[in-house]
Symmetry: C2
Subunit: 272 residues, 2 copies
């Protein structure tokens, strides 16, 4: 069973994709063909979107679903005339929000909506720069400026997590790879000792780590299950002995790892 799904927005469509995806995840047995239509900000583009919807209907023999964050009334009416089943975020909630807040929405009074906090957001750009400059054990001298320092063996997900923390939450995250040499020490590497309260460990089940490392260097000692077992055992032991909070990322997405770290470490995110 296949259904075509459209994500329609007058802007980036990131919100439409996010809320739509969350709802679609409730229907695991259906195969969805996803089409994103961002920047639908005039009549011509709205009509073009309706044409694509009609084509999908003809092809599938079933009405497409549409997740929409269009704000302009006229464009929403055009979309409503399509033969799709439209899930409209603003229609669903805006009336009740106006009542709760006791005032009209920007859309109701004909103003454009203010999504996307104009310009790059200095905090995030700085945090990204920091994550790159302190990736994979470099930039140790700047660790005293870090909000958090992620620690773990190679391929435990440190770099993606650092970057996501920067990009999404404006958090300055360094990351430090625990090498075999580090793991043979008794106690923390000297680089890390004075930053103990800001360390956060990432771990993973050895089978999953083995699989990830095989993708990188197939058949190597580095990727062998035995090596992975030894490193993970030593890293977990280190986290426990040093009292470092740590997280098992075996089944987690980047988003989940970052949100867990933020929450468990009680980090203060950038104003948003």
């Amino acid at each position: 069973m296949k259904r075509t799904v459209f994500f329609v927005s007058d802007h980036t469509a990131i919100t439409a994709e996010t809320f739509g995806r969350s709802l679609l995840s409730q229907f695991e047995t259906v195969t969805f063909e996803r089409v994103t239509q961002p920047f639908v900000d005039c009549e011509a583009k709205a009509i073009d979107t309706c044409r694509r919807i009609a084509d999908a209907f003809a092809r599938d023999g079933q009405a497409p679903l549409v997740f929409s964050t269009l704000t302009d009334d006229h464009l929403r009416q055009i979309l409503e005339c399509s033969e799709a089943v439209v899930f409209d975020l603003f229609e669903a909630f805006l009336d009740r929000m106006e009542t709760a807040l006791g005032q009209p929405s920007a859309q109701a009074i004909g103003r454009a909506h203010g999504l996307g906090n104009a310009a790059l957001g200095r905090g995030r750009v700085e945090a990204l720069r920091f994550a790159i400059d302190c990736d994979d054990g470099i930039g140790v001298d700047a660790y005293d400026k870090a909000d958090i320092i992620l620690v773990g063996v190679s391929r435990s997900g440190k770099t993606p997590a650092s970057l996501f923390l920067a990009l999404h939450y404006g958090i300055k995250a360094a990351n430090y790879p625990l090498t075999e040499e580090d793991l043979n020490l008794s106690g923390l590497p000297s680089n890390l000792r004075k930053h103990r309260e800001r360390l956060f460990g990432l771990t993973m089940n050895p089978e999953r780590l083995h699989q990830l490392r095989e993708e990188r260097r197939p058949g190597s000692r580095y990727a062998s299950l035995e090596q992975c077992r030894n490193e993970i055992r030593a890293a977990d032991g280190l986290f426990q002995a040093a009292g470092i909070p740590y997280l098992d990322t075996s089944t987690m997405s980047v988003e989940e790892i970052a949100a867990n770290i933020l929450h468990r470490a009680g980090l203060q995110r950038m104003r948003w």
Copy 2:
């Protein structure tokens, strides 16, 4: 006028934050105090959330707003008993989705929801590695593996855009800074010439660039308005002469820059 807003989820709360933020942006005159409650996955945490809501109500003298993506019926009922105005994503749309798809949702049949595509997603991790390895003019030898190469003067937003393209869309983006030396050439730098079809320019109004550079090196020649004007004029001229598509990022967020590039360059994003 101040209102407290809660984003409540049994998971990362990223969806709750995204759809809530989109709706809140329609009310620009209200000041919102934002509280995120992720991982509300048991009765005790739901009750604790209700307690925080009650505290906020007492403090503000007005009912807090709640944006929720809770899926469990029992937890949702607990939240409904709070004194907040609850905007519940699943309640708003799930019934109609079940009707449209002709089948029950996972939630309806008691299964957990499948948000967060288990594990890190290899494509994104590879794309992130690529973006870091080809940041700011390094890794030029790997440019033939790039999906896109962002080109622009210093501080035009290349690095954040490259990383966002990787993290959100799984796109391999290199980025190359146009130096004064490059801009004095007639035509494209030799490094870039053979990759012309994959180049994408970022530009900005000189005043905005001046402002960003002043934050980095106040009072420098590098940051002076005159220097910014000259570089932008030369860069725009280069994009036009070489037929490179380009984007003015002056008022854009990272999300907007990335979504624009994806859309205009017609890039094929990772399956999602």
